[in-house]
C-alpha cells in the first residue's frame, strides 16, 4: 500500500530546473534510498516532500494517520509533520543551545495534551503529561545509546551523536514515514555500520517507512530494498540495489564515463 507518492513534480528556481517530472512511489514498510551526485536535487526533493518548497508543477500525496492519502499542496511543514512524516537535516539543525533531552521533548509538541493555561497554573494534567513526555523521550534516547548525555547541550555532542539526536528528535514526532537526509555523513565506518543496524531496528520497532538520501554506497546498498537514482534533477534509474549497481547510466553519472566492468 502506497504511503508516499509524488506525481510528476518539478521545481524551478529562476531559470534552473532543479527537479523535473519526478515520479516517486513508496509502499508501507519499505526502506528506499535516493542517491545521486552532488547537486542532483536530492535535498530539494526532501524539501518539497516536507513542504519547505512548493513544487512548481505536479502533486505530492501522503498517507495520514487515518490511512487516507492527503494532497500536501496547501499544507505548512508543521502540518505535514502532523500527518505523520518526519525528517532529519543534512546540515544538522538541532536546537543547539538546548539540552539533548529538551531537543527531544520539543519534538513531542504535537502530542502534548495540555493547554497554555494548564501549563501556567501547573494543573495535574500538566504534570502528568510532562512526566509522560520525559519518559518517552528518555526511552528514545536509550535506543540510540545517548541517554547518559541527556543534560548536555546539543551543540556539545560529537558529530556522530548529533546525527543520532536528529533521528531521535524526528522519531519523537511519532511519524510513520521517516525521511533521513545523509544520516551517515561524517561518521566513521564503524559508526556507519552501527547506524545501519539502528535504522533497520527502528523501522521494525516503530513500523516505519523510510526514505533516505545517502552518499555512503555501502550503507545504501546494504539496507535499501529499492533505490532511486537522480542526476541533474531527473530520475535516471530505479530498482533493486544489484540492478542499480550494474546500470550503465548510474555508473556514468557517478564516474563520468562508461566503464567496461561494473566498478
Amino acid at each position: 500500500m502506497t504511503v508516499l507518492k509524488a506525481e510528476n513534480i518539478s521545481i524551478q528556481f529562476g531559470g534552473l530546473m532543479a527537479v523535473s517530472n519526478l515520479n516517486l512511489e513508496i509502499d508501507e514498510g519499505e526502506l528506499v534510498g535516493l542517491i545521486g551526485p552532488n547537486g542532483a536535487g536530492k535535498t530539494t526533493i526532501f524539501n518539497m516532500l516536507t513542504g519547505v518548497y512548493k513544487p512548481t508543477a505536479g502533486r505530492i500525496l501522503i498517507k495520514d494517520h487515518r490511512g487516507q492519502m492527503q494532497d500536501i499542496e496547501r499544507l505548512h511543514p508543521y502540518q505535514i509533520t502532523a500527518l505523520g512524516m518526519a525528517r532529519t537535516f543534512q546540515n544538522i539543525r538541532l536546537f543547539k543551545n538546548l539540552s539533548v533531552l529538551d531537543n527531544v521533548r520539543i519534538a513531542n509538541h504535537l502530542n502534548v495534551e495540555y493547554n497554555t493555561l494548564e501549563a501556567v497554573l501547573r494543573l495535574p494534567k500538566y504534570e502528568q503529561e510532562e512526566k509522560r513526555i520525559t519518559e518517552q523521550s528518555l526511552e528514545l534516547l536509550r535506543i540510540f545509546n545517548i541517554e547518559q548525555k541527556k543534560d548536555e547541550l546539543a551543540k556539545n555532542l560529537p558529530y556522530g551523536e548529533q546525527r543520532k539526536l536528529e533521528i531521535v528528535r524526528a522519531l519523537a514526532t511519532k511519524p510513520h514515514i521517516l525521511l533521513l537526509d545523509e544520516p551517515a555523513a561524517g561518521m566513521n565506518p564503524q559508526e556507519t555500520l552501527e547506524l545501519m543496524d539502528l535504522i533497520k531496528y527502528i523501522r521494525d520497532r516503530f513500523k516505519l517507512t523510510i526514505l533516505l538520501i545517502e552518499h555512503d554506497m555501502k550503507l545504501v546498498m546494504g539496507i535499501c530494498q529499492r533505490i532511486y537514482v537522480l542526476d541533474y534533477g531527473r530520475l535516471i534509474a530505479r530498482g533493486a540495489p544489484e540492478e542499480i549497481a550494474h546500470n550503465p547510466l548510474v555508473i556514468k553519472a557517478y564516474l563520468g564515463k562508461e566503464m567496461e566492468n561494473d566498478a
Binding site: P77, R93, R105, N108, T116, A119, T134, T173
Partner: protein, 338 residues
C-alpha cells in the same frame, strides 16, 4: 519532601518576603526615596521581562516597547478619568489594549523572517508617541495628562500601596513567564529562536507561536504602563520615546537574552544606576549606550551568561535549605524566582 510541599513552601516564602518588604516600606526601614526607586525599578523590570519574551526567548528583535507601555498607560488613565473604571480593571484594560496593538502589528510582520519586526516596532513606538501629542482632548497633548487618580488617596499609605502592587505584579509576571517557558508551549517558543526551519519540521506552528509570544510580550509591556499611570499621576508622550525603548533593550541584553533572572537583576541595577548618576545631568544618557557596547564586546551573553545562563530557582533553594534531596533534573525545577 514531596513536590507539592516544596511548591507550598516556596509560595509561602514569596508571600512572607513580599509582606516583609511592604512592612519595611510602611515603617520607613526602607526610606521613601529607596522605595520609590524600587517601585520604578519594578515597573522597568516588568516591561523588560515582556521584551525578553519576544527578543530573548523567541529571538525576534523588537524596538518599540515604550510604545506598548504608552498604550497601556494612556488607556488606563483614560478608563479611570473618563469612564470612572476602578483602578484594577482599568489596568487590565490598558494591558489588553496593548496586547491588541501587539497582535495587530505582529499579524503582518511576523510572517516575514529577519528583522522586519524590529523596523516595524521602531516605527510603531514613534507613531504612538506622535499620536499622543496630537490627541490633546484624550491625552493632554504635549503638555501631558495630569491628575490621574493614584492607587490610594491616603497620603501616608501611597508609597506602600504602590510598592506592594508593583512587587506583586512583578512576581506574578515572573511566575507566569517561568511556568510558561518550562512547558511544551514555552519550549516551542524557544525552539523558534534556535532554528525556525527545524521547529517547523518538528510540528510547531511557528507563526502562531510568534504571534502568541509577541501578544503576551505587548500585554506585559502594557501592564508596565498601566502601573505607571496611577503611580506617577502624570503622563507625557515624551516619557515613552525611543530612548525609553532602548533602555528596556539594554536591561534585557545586560541581564542576558533569554534569562528571566538576569532581567530582574539588570532592571533593578540599571534603574538604581540612573538615579545615582543624576548629578551627571544629560551626560548620564551616555552611560546606557556605553554599557551596551561594553556588554556586547566583553560579555555578549549578559550577566547571567557568567553563571551558565541558569535561572534562579526558589524551589531548588527551598529544597536545599530543608535538606531534601532534589532528584529531579535542573530543567524541571519549579518556578518562583523573585
Amino acid at each position: 519532601m514531596s513536590k507539592k510541599k516544596t511548591t507550598v513552601t516556596s509560595f509561602f516564602v514569596v508571600v512572607v518576603v513580599l509582606l516583609l518588604l511592604t512592612i519595611m516600606v510602611r515603617y520607613r526601614v526602607i526610606d521613601e526615596y529607596t522605595s520609590q526607586v524600587l517601585t520604578i525599578a519594578g515597573i522597568n523590570v516588568i516591561v523588560a521581562l515582556g521584551l525578553n519574551l519576544i527578543s530573548g526567548f523567541t529571538g525576534q528583535l523588537a524596538l518599540g516597547h515604550a510604545g506598548f507601555m504608552a498604550v497601556g498607560a494612556y488607556t488606563t488613565a483614560a478608563l479611570m478619568m473618563k469612564f470612572n473604571v476602578p483602578t484594577f480593571l482599568a489596568m487590565i484594560g490598558g494591558a489588553l489594549m496593548a496586547a491588541l496593538f501587539g497582535f495587530l502589528i505582529g499579524l503582518p510582520t511576523l510572517r516575514l523572517r529577519g528583522d522586519y519586526l524590529a523596523i516595524v516596532t521602531l516605527g510603531f513606538g514613534e507613531i504612538i508617541r506622535v499620536i499622543m501629542i496630537n490627541l490633546p482632548e484624550l491625552t493632554g497633548g504635549p503638555a501631558g495628562l495630569k491628575g490621574i487618580p493614584p492607587f490610594t488617596t491616603n497620603f501616608q499609605w501611597r508609597p506602600v500601596v504602590s510598592f506592594a502592587i508593583v512587587a506583586v505584579t512583578m512576581t506574578l509576571v515572573i511566575v507566569f513567564l517561568s511556568n510558561l517557558l518550562k512547558s511544551s508551549h514555552g519550549k516551542a517558543i524557544i525552539s523558534i529562536r534556535e532554528d525556525e526551519i527545524a521547529a517547523n519540521a518538528m510540528g510547531i506552528n511557528v507563526f502562531y507561536y510568534k504571534i502568541f509570544a509577541f501578544t503576551i510580550s505587548a500585554f506585559i509591556g502594557g501592564l508596565g504602563g498601566a502601573l505607571y499611570a496611577p503611580f506617577f499621576g502624570y503622563l507625557s508622550p515624551n516619557m515613552f520615546n525611543f530612548q525609553k525603548s532602548v533602555e528596556f533593550l539594554i536591561i534585557v541584553v545586560l541581564g542576558g537574552m533569554g534569562n528571566l533572572t538576569g532581567t530582574v537583576l539588570a532592571g533593578i541595577g540599571l534603574t538604581y544606576l540612573q538615579e545615582i548618576l543624576r548629578f551627571l545631568k544629560d551626560y548620564r544618557l551616555v552611560i546606557y549606550p556605553v554599557i551596551l557596547i561594553l556588554v556586547m564586546i566583553f560579555q555578549p551573553s549578559g550577566v547571567m551568561g557568567l553563571f551558565g545562563n541558569r535561572e534562579f530557582s526558589l524551589t531548588a533553594l527551598v529544597n536545599k535549605l530543608i535538606g531534601a534531596p532534589s532528584s529531579r533534573p535542573k530543567s524541571e525545577e519549579k518556578a518562583g524566582e523573585v
